[in-house]
């Protein structure tokens, strides 16, 4: 027992992943683990390959080389992973726990079966649809069988109506949560930028994920909004026990909420550890934090403020 969930109880293991685009190596031989129930931050300068790595995890890109193992209930076990790797299958659940090899799965299967939800660096809401509808589409997987794959719903059976009203309740809860209850029926595209960011997170949460991947959720938010976001993320983790992997530039947010930080630079992992360890790491300071000294000041102040009570 190390006390670090990413060592004791990992639910995601990225194993020597490399992604090349033509001659460009965007991600180079990166390995790390994500602990169950942790908030893990993936940081690094622009172009370091963070988004590319996210896309590999969620199946939008196929890594050129490497293995990505995922188990929603945690407790990844190397022997089982190797065993599955030797077969041609994508997942196994013989040991009781589901185990998935993500690099073998299509993007939508990863979301549907492995239950990994994500947001995008450039927000991708269904902008012509209302905020509420966005959250209901996110529950498509749960609602489809209830609608009899379209047939029962078409003739208006009560079982579907019940399922739908449950979905609406859930959506309503999340809308209240992110303070958008009033604007539930407005097109998502008409919402202010910060609201859109939060709505995208709520949408991902409505899909009932085991791992929530957030690509720069605080980008473009002001200090106040960033702070609110940090609080929201911590609450989400606390209540639903979902594990969170986030890419973030705002060091204040990173230091304040993460349990584990992984640092990328030029596609390579240069550090991996607790926020305190990473902050002291000379390679990190040189590559990343060193350039943005002034950002570290408030972050530190905030961090001590947060840990005091």
């Amino acid at each position: 027992m190390t006390g670090f969930a990413w060592i004791d109880d990992p639910l995601l293991r990225v194993d020597r992943v490399t992604m090349r685009f033509g001659g460009l190596t965007a991600v180079n031989d990166v390995s790390f683990s994500v602990g169950r129930g942790d908030i893990t931050a993936l940081i690094g300068p622009n172009g370091a390959g963070k988004t590319t790595l996210f896309n590999c995890l969620t199946g939008f890109y196929k890594p050129t080389v490497g293995r990505i193992a995922f188990s929603p209930k945690g407790g990844l076990d190397d022997d089982r992973i190797d065993e599955l790797t030797a077969t041609a299958r994508r997942n196994s659940n013989d040991g009781g726990e589901d185990l998935y090899l993500l690099e073998r799965m299509a993007d939508f299967e990863i979301a549907k079966k492995a239950r990994i939800a994500r947001t995008f660096q450039n927000i991708r809401l269904f902008s012509g649809m209302s905020a509420l509808e966005n959250l209901i589409v996110a529950q498509h997987i749960a609602l489809t069988p209830a609608s009899g794959y379209g047939v029962f719903g078409l003739i208006g059976l009560p079982s579907y109506r019940r399922a739908e009203s449950e979905a609406v309740e859930r959506a309503k809860k999340w809308l209240e949560r992110i303070g958008l209850r009033r604007r539930a029926d407005d097109p998502a595209g008409a919402l202010p930028y910060g609201d859109q960011r939060r709505l995208e997170i709520a949408r991902a949460m409505c899909a009932n994920p085991a791992l929530l991947c957030l690509d720069e959720p605080a980008a473009g938010l002001n200090a106040n909004e960033s702070h609110g976001l940090a609080t929201l993320l911590r609450e989400i983790r606390g209540e639903s026990g979902v594990s969170i992997l986030l890419i973030e530039h705002d060091m204040a947010v990173v230091m304040a909420i993460s349990d584990h930080v992984v640092v990328l630079d030029y596609g390579q992992k240069i550090a991996d550890g607790s926020p305190l360890e990473v902050r002291e790491n000379p390679a990190v300071i040189a590559a990343y934090l060193g350039v943005e000294d002034e950002e570290l000041g408030p972050a530190e102040a905030e961090l001590t403020a947060e840990t005091k009570p």
Binding site: F21, T51, N55, F60, Y61, F120
Partner: protein
């Protein structure tokens, strides 16, 4: 063998025309990522402009056909370019950054408009001109079948080659070409660096139309006949050429044009001329489905 050689010559002639039109598709796609559905109809319009100008010069002013054709070639390039300039301005410019199907739907509307505009103003029937420049050179003789090369065909291939050379120079060596390639890579960045994106795009349409107009004049010369529905099938074939060559790639467009021209004539010769359009359409479908980056295009991973 003689027949094959003859069809080879015919195929290259036809391929030159397709290649010229295909460049218009490929350039516009390269720079704004749009399938310019109306391009085939711009080509047809240019053939009509050429037809009318040719009649005007020969009948109205008694100019001999040869010199008249030279004047017509340049005049129809200019007039068609003006048309496409206006079309871009009216139908597409405001749509950049609009929802993703808007430019294509607008182009379909424009295509419908152009085809029916010409039908309404000139009538739906075939318009044929008396043949000229139809001397032929016999390449083989004495066999069962004489392979011939007509002056027309020489002219068509020569004009195409000369234009392509000039055009290649423009794209590779001039500031305009540089601006074009910059916009292709990243229009926003290019704008930040002081490239006039609107102007560059407009010029792309103008150049594409000028090349289509050359194709239109040559088409008229080659077949001696044109009608208002002639934009559709040659347009789709030229688009097929662009896709086959790798959309966005200029040498690809020419290569694809040649390939389509050859396939069409050979298919017509050896299989069935009834189904020769099916050949082109199936190449289009197969290419798009199985190798969307074509022969010379670069494959790319969809950015997320």
């Amino acid at each position: 063998m003689e027949i094959f050689l003859q069809q080879l010559i015919n195929g290259v002639t036809l391929g030159s025309i397709y290649g010229l039109i295909a460049i218009g598709y490929t350039m516009v796609f390269g720079i704004i990522g749009m399938v310019n559905f109306a391009h085939g109809d711009v080509f047809m319009l240019s053939a009509f402009i050429a037809l009318l100008l040719l009649l005007l010069l020969t009948q109205g002013f008694g100019v001999a056909e040869g010199p008249a054709f030279v004047v017509v070639l340049f005049a129809s390039m200019a007039l068609t370019a003006l048309w496409n300039f206006v079309i871009e301005r009216v139908a597409y410019r405001r749509l950049r950054g609009s929802f993703r199907l808007a430019p294509l739907i607008s182009a379909i509307g424009m295509s419908t408009f152009l085809a029916n505009f010409v039908t309404v103003t000139q009538g739906p029937n075939n318009k044929s001109i008396p043949p000229f420049l139809d001397k032929v050179i016999a390449i083989t003789s004495g066999g069962a079948y004489d392979v011939t090369l007509s002056y027309k065909q020489i002219l068509i291939v020569a004009v195409t080659a000369a234009l392509l050379a000039a055009f290649w120079y423009v794209v590779q060596k001039t500031p305009l070409g540089r601006a074009q390639r910059a916009c292709e890579q990243d229009a926003k960045m290019a704008a930040l660096l002081g490239v006039d994106v609107d102007r560059t795009i407009a010029l792309t349409f103008v150049i594409g139309a000028a090349l289509a107009a050359v194709a239109g004049s040559l088409f008229l010369l080659h077949y001696g006949v044109v009608k208002s529905s002639d934009g559709f099938v040659p347009g789709v074939k030229a688009f097929t050429a662009a896709v086959l060559g790798g959309i966005g790639s200029l040498p690809g467009a020419v290569l694809g044009g040649m390939a389509i021209g050859l396939i069409e004539t050979m298919w017509g010769q050896y299989f069935s001329s009834d189904y020769k359009d099916v050949a082109a359409f199936s190449i289009l479908a197969v290419t798009l489905i199985f190798m969307p980056s074509g022969l010379l295009g670069r494959p790319d991973v969809e950015k997320v």
